[in-house]
Subunit: 242 residues, 2 copies
């Protein structure tokens, strides 16, 4: 399984992903799921991936190949984020169809992506691309997107993330959301990839890869645990406690 | 859907359940899912139910009927909590088989239960009874059980619940776990049924039914939201913040 988050705030974007893949319970590997495409000063994209690893790897390879070959449509040529999402969707569905045509075992080749970034002075955007090739963007009422094992880490995002949440708080919130998920579900695991994009910077300058024993990650997890214990203890008293 | 929790601490038991049932998206009703069986000073049981409402109602009815009729095996006669779980499991599977025999549409008649309580001076216990009729109990490493829509509310329990957690804190934690779930998933909803059992009291004296607009429930949800915002804000700073 996988868990990836993208948050779109007034101050910029947060991308966060785990790195565990599993093909069955006893076949577990580490693959990073955040892929970046950067033209400093011009445009930046981050692509987060979940689903069939053969499909997601093939999609990323094709995206890079199209850039190298200066294909008529590529991530450097698309005029908008929506156009970029449509282009990624067309590659994803083409690869799935190709693999399905060879399949003899009703294999699930589906992959889901989150694509986010900024092109020039346009507003930063995030889009969730479904395996079927359609896509949705985040909204003012719900300024984050999730793919993979989303339930464990959703409550903290639902409670805290607004458009006007400070970018650093959104990043901390994403780490807590992932940490909650890795603690409660073994199919999601470190290292945790965190990418924080300041709006209009048109470059990815703030990225952390947090291994299981990373001091910052441990400090954060311990501080969060302490805060929650205290928060529960300080909640209103029951009538029978007085 | 449904969400029910049972927590077994050194000081006693906590039971918490939502009250939303749905047969399809547009057929939503309110049914309480915590059923109590009490012989003050002698024995107490709480039964939490999830799954097919026809099955869970029939099981509860049969349990009460067996008590009234003084059947050879009933909740007043069983010598242990394990025996009680086995008895509930036998009724549940018998009812499922009866309904399946009449079925013409591959209907899912499955039901899952949590049974908890105390018999005389024996240690309080909680057991999760699967639709298949087998059961598991909680453990020192994992002193809580959940049924239904369990993922949203699991991280807070994983982080906080230990055997030595104070009973009132365990109860507050259960309410937070349910509140997180009702906020993030529409199939789980109020009123919230909270039952707190002090070990060796052999009676159910502390029960709250919290409607959506209950002042205590609102106060608790707001206090929790405020505490989380503050907790995220007070987490360790990123290297680039200094």
């Amino acid at each position: 399984m996988t868990y990836c988050i993208a948050i779109n705030t007034d101050q910029g974007l947060v991308f966060c992903s785990d790195s565990r893949t599993n093909a069955g319970f006893d076949n577990i590997s580490i693959y990073q799921k955040t892929h970046t495409f950067t033209w400093p000063g011009e445009r930046v994209f981050a692509l987060l991936s979940a689903g069939n690893l053969g499909t997601t790897q093939a999609v990323v390879k094709q995206l890079r190949y199209d850039i190298e070959q200066q294909a008529p449509v590529n991530l450097y040529s698309v005029p908008t984020l929506l156009g970029a999402a449509d282009y990624v969707a067309s590659i994803s569905t083409a690869i799935q169809k190709q693999h399905m045509a060879r399949d003899m075992a009703h294999t699930n080749f589906e992959a889901t992506f989150i694509l986010g970034g900024q092109i020039g002075s346009a507003r930063p955007e995030t889009l969730l691309i479904y395996p079927q090739g359609n896509y949705i963007h985040e909204s003012n009422a719900h300024p984050f997107l999730q793919i993979g094992e989303i339930k464990y880490g959703k409550p903290i995002l639902d409670r805290l993330i607004r458009r006007d949440t400070a970018l650093v708080d959104a990043a901390r919130c994403a780490l807590v959301s992932i940490n909650s998920t890795t603690r409660s579900n073994l199919t999601v695991g470190p290292p945790i990839d965190l990418l924080v994009y300041a709006r209009d910077s048109l470059n990815f300058e703030r990225r952390m890869l947090l291994e299981e024993d990373d001091p910052f990650a441990k400090q954060l997890a311990e501080a969060w645990n302490r805060a929650l214990v205290e928060a529960v203890h300080n909640l209103p008293s029951f009538p029978w406690e007085s």
